[in-house]
C-alpha cells in the first residue's frame, strides 16, 4: 500500500499544494493557476483539490499533511523584530500583532489549515505537522535530486529565522551544518534593490537580474563597504541602519537614498543608467556571496555535487557563475525554488521520515518528472471545450501537428504550445509556452510588445535540444529547468560594430545567430530539452531543427504580463485571442488565428490585470 503525504505552503506569497507518493512527487501546483490571481497567497484550496483528483484520492487516503514552515517560531521572530525596533515600529506593531493573535490568527495557522481542509469536504483530515521553512527548501532541493549524497544550500529572503542554510544530504537524511539568521539576508538585500529600482518585491527580482547586463557595477564597492560585510566563508552581516524592513512595510528609506544618489525610481517610471548600474552592482555582490557560500559548502561536506533552493536559487545568473567556477562537478536546482516549492519539500521531509526511499537515485534522472506535475487535459476534454464553444480547429495526428507547428515557427509565426501536464514552479518549460523563431531579430520585440504587453529589456529564454546544447552555449551540464545562464558559444556570436546604441536599445543590436534569446552581454537563460524529460517538446525542437538546422526555440511563458501562466484550454484560448499569437497547438488540435472570429469581451481586460 502506497503512502501519500500532502504538502501545503500558504499565506505569504504564491501558495501551493503538492502530493508525494512513497517519496516521489506525483502532483504539485500553485494556487494562482486556478484562481487566476498572480502569486495568490490564500489557502490553496483548488490546488489541494487538483492534487487529490490527480490521484483519485480523498484526504482519508493521505497519511499526513505537512505545512512548509513553523508559524510559532515565525511569530517569535516577527515579535522580536517589532520589539527590537521599538519605539520606531508602532504602526507596524498595530497592524501586525492583531493579524497573528486572536481567533483564526496566523499564530494558529495549523488550526486554520485544518479548518480549510475540512471545509473541502474530501474526507477525514489527517494529522497536520509543521516543518521548518528552510528544512522544506532543503528537502525540495535534495530528495528529488539525482544524487545519493550532496551539499545543499538554501538562500532566500526569510522564513522563521534562517535566511541561509547549509546542509549535508545523504540517502534519505539531511543534516544541518549551519545557518545565517534574519535580518541578515541575501534575498532581502536583493529585494531592497528591487524595491529601490521601482519593481515589486517578491516578483520584480527577476527584472532586476535582467537589467544588470546593461549596467556597470560602479556601486558594488559601496555596497560591500556600507551595506554588507562578507566573510571569506560567504557568511555576511547587513548594516541595518540602511534598511527599513525591521520597522515597517517598505524596504529602503532615506539612508539608502543618500547612499545611492536620490529617491527610488517610481514604479513604471523611466529606467536610467543609475538603475542599470544598481542592478549590475547588487548582482555582482550576490554572485560573490553565492560563490563563496558554494566553496564553503564544498569544503564542509566534501561532496562533488550541490543542490540549491530558496528564492535566491532562482537567480540563474548566479547559478551559472557557480557552474562556471567549477566548484562542483554538477548542480541541481529545484525548479520550484521559491516558497511554492516549500509545499513539496515539507511533504518530502515527512515522507522520508516515514521511511520512503529514493528509488530514482542511480538512474541518472531526478524525481521531478520534468517539473510537469500539474493538470493535463485529454484530447476528449479539449474537444469538448472547442465544440462547446464552436471554436474552429483541426484535429491532427501527433506527427502532423509537430510538422505543421515547426513549419509555422520557421515561417516566423508565434505559436501557443499547450501540451502535457502544467509546470510546477515559476517557469514555463514547454507545457504552457509561447514559442517563436530565435533567429529572427524582430522576434524579441514582436513577442514582447504584441503578445506579452510588457517592457522589452529582457530577452527570451532559449529551449535547446540537450544533445545540441554545447554547439550553441558554453554550458558544461544540463539545465532542464531554465535555471542556469550561460554564454552563447563563440561560434554562434557575430561581430558587433559599435552601433552607438545605449540603454535598452542595446538589446536590438544583433550579437549572435539567435538574437531573440541573446542578452546584451551575450548570455542566455538556457533550458536543455531531453527526449526523456519532455518527449513531445523534444520532437518539436527536432522537427524545427530538421527544417531550419537550428535546434533552438524562443520559449516564454504562456500568459500576458501580470497574469498567471495559463492552466486550462479556456485560459489558453483566451490568451491566444487577446494577443497576436498566430497559432495554438492544444493536445492534438491546431487552431489558426486567421480562422477565428473577431474577439470581443466585456470591459478592457488590460485594465483588469494588475501590472506585475
Amino acid at each position: 500500500m502506497s503512502e501519500l503525504v500532502l504538502g501545503i505552503s500558504a499565506y505569504y506569497h504564491d501558495s501551493a499544494a503538492a502530493i508525494v507518493r512513497d517519496g516521489v512527487p506525483v502532483a504539485a501546483a500553485q494556487e494562482e493557476r486556478f484562481s487566476r490571481k498572480r502569486h495568490d497567497s490564500s489557502f490553496p484550496a483548488q490546488a489541494v483539490g487538483y492534487c487529490l483528483d490527480e490521484l483519485g484520492a480523498s484526504l482519508q487516503d493521505v497519511s499526513a499533511v505537512a505545512y512548509y514552515e513553523d508559524p510559532r517560531l515565525k511569530f517569535r521572530r516577527v515579535l522580536a523584530t517589532l520589539v527590537g525596533a521599538a519605539p520606531t515600529s508602532v504602526t507596524s506593531f498595530r497592524d501586525t500583532v492583531p493579524r497573528w493573535l486572536g481567533k483564526g490568527g496566523k499564530l494558529r495557522t495549523l488550526e486554520v489549515v485544518r479548518g480549510e481542509l475540512e471545509s473541502l469536504d474530501r474526507g477525514a483530515v489527517p494529522g497536520i505537522v509543521a516543518r521548518r521553512h528552510h528544512e522544506s527548501h532543503a528537502a525540495s532541493a535534495f530528495f528529488p535530486s539525482p544524487y545519493q549524497s550532496a551539499a545543499v544550500l538554501c538562500v532566500d529572503g526569510v522564513g522563521e529565522w534562517a535566511t541561509t542554510t547549509l546542509w549535508h544530504g545523504r540517502g534519505t537524511e539531511l543534516t544541518a551544518l549551519g545557518e545565517i539568521r534574519f535580518p541578515h539576508s541575501l534575498g532581502l538585500l536583493y529585494s531592497a534593490f528591487t524595491y529601490f529600482c521601482g519593481f515589486k518585491v517578491d516578483s520584480g527580482e527577476y527584472k532586476l537580474m535582467g537589467l544588470a547586463p546593461y549596467g556597470v557595477p560602479r556601486y558594488a564597492d559601496l555596497i560591500r563597504e556600507r551595506l554588507i560585510d562578507i566573510k571569506p566563508d560567504g557568511s555576511f552581516h547587513l548594516d541595518m541602519r540602511y534598511f527599513e524592513y525591521l520597522r515597517g512595510h517598505v524596504m529602503t528609506g532615506r539612508a539608502f537614498e543618500k547612499l545611492f544618489d536620490g529617491p527610488r525610481r517610481e514604479a513604471e517610471g523611466p529606467l536610467t543608467q543609475r538603475e542599470f548600474d544598481l542592478a549590475a552592482s547588487v548582482q555582482q555582490v550576490t554572485e560573490e556571496v553565492m560563490l563563496r557560500l558554494a566553496r564553503t559548502a564544498r569544503e564542509r561536506t566534501g561532496e562533488s555535487t550541490l543542490c540549491l533552493a530558496g528564492g535566491v536559487a532562482l537567480n540563474c545568473v548566479a547559478n551559472g557563475k557557480i557552474v562556471e567556477g567549477g566548484i562542483f562537478d554538477e548542480l541541481w536546482i529545484q525548479p520550484a525554488a521559491g516558497d511554492a516549492g516549500g509545499a513539496l519539500g515539507a511533504a518530502l521531509a515527512v515522507a522520508m521520515e516515514h521511511g520512503a526511499g529514493r528509488d530514482h537515485v542511480g538512474t541518472g534522472q531526478d524525481a521531478m518528472s520534468g517539473a510537469l506535475l500539474g493538470p493535463a487535459f485529454s484530447d476528449a476534454q479539449i474537444a469538448e471545450y472547442l465544440r462547446g464553444r464552436g471554436i474552429a480547429h483541426h484535429r491532427l495526428d501527433p506527427a502532423d501537428l509537430v510538422g505543421d507547428v515547426a513549419a509555422a515557427l520557421a515561417d516566423g509565426k508565434i505559436v501557443g504550445w499547450f501540451q502535457n501536464r502544467m509546470e510546477f514552479g515559476p517557469r514555463a518549460l514547454g507545457a504552457r509556452s509561447i514559442l517563436g523563431d530565435p533567429r529572427d531579430p524582430a522576434m524579441q520585440s514582436a513577442i514582447n510588445l504584441k503578445t506579452k504587453f510588457r517592457e522589452s529589456f529582457r530577452p527570451f529564454a532559449p529551449a535547446v535540444l540537450a544533445e545540441d546544447a554545447k554547439d550553441y552555449f558554453d554550458l558544461s551540464q544540463e539545465s532542464p529547468y531554465m535555471l542556469l545562464v550561460a554564454q552563447v558559444a563563440a561560434a554562434r556570436q557575430l561581430p558587433v560594430t559599435d552601433s552607438g546604441a545605449t540603454g535598452i536599445d542595446l538589446l536590438h543590436v544583433q550579437r549572435s545567430t539567435i538574437p531573440a534569446v541573446t542578452h546584451v552581454d551575450c548570455s542566455a537563460r538556457v533550458q536543455t530539452v531531453s527526449a526523456v524529460g519532455n518527449p513531445g517538446y523534444h520532437e518539436l525542437l527536432s522537427a524545427f531543427k530538421a527544417r531550419t538546422g537550428c535546434p533552438v526555440l524562443v520559449n516564454t511563458s504562456f500568459n500576458v504580463r501580470g497574469e498567471p501562466i495559463v492552466n486550462s484550454p479556456h485560459d489558453a484560448y483566451t490568451c491566444f485571442m487577446r494577443t497576436n499569437i498566430d497559432m495554438l497547438a492544444m493536445g492534438n488540435f491546431l487552431l489558426h488565428k486567421s480562422e477565428q472570429p473577431a474577439w470581443s469581451e466585456e470591459g478592457d481586460w488590460r485594465t483588469e490585470i494588475p501590472l506585475d
Binding site: 522580536a80 506593531f93 551544518l177 545557518e179 539568521r181 566573510k231
Partner: protein
C-alpha cells in the same frame, strides 16, 4: 483589539523590553562584531 490598547501595550511593554533586550544580548545581532571570523551559526 483596539488600536489604543495596542499602542499602550507597545509603549508600556514592547518599548522598554526592546531597550532592555538590546542592552543585554542584541537579539537581531545588529551590532557588528568586527573581530568575528564568521557570521555562520551552527
Amino acid at each position: 483589539m483596539g488600536k489604543i490598547l495596542l499602542s499602550v501595550g507597545y509603549f508600556l511593554v514592547a518599548t522598554p523590553v526592546g531597550w532592555a533586550s538590546r542592552l543585554i544580548h542584541d537579539p537581531l545581532s545588529r551590532r557588528r562584531d568586527r573581530r568575528a571570523q564568521t557570521y555562520w551559526s551552527a
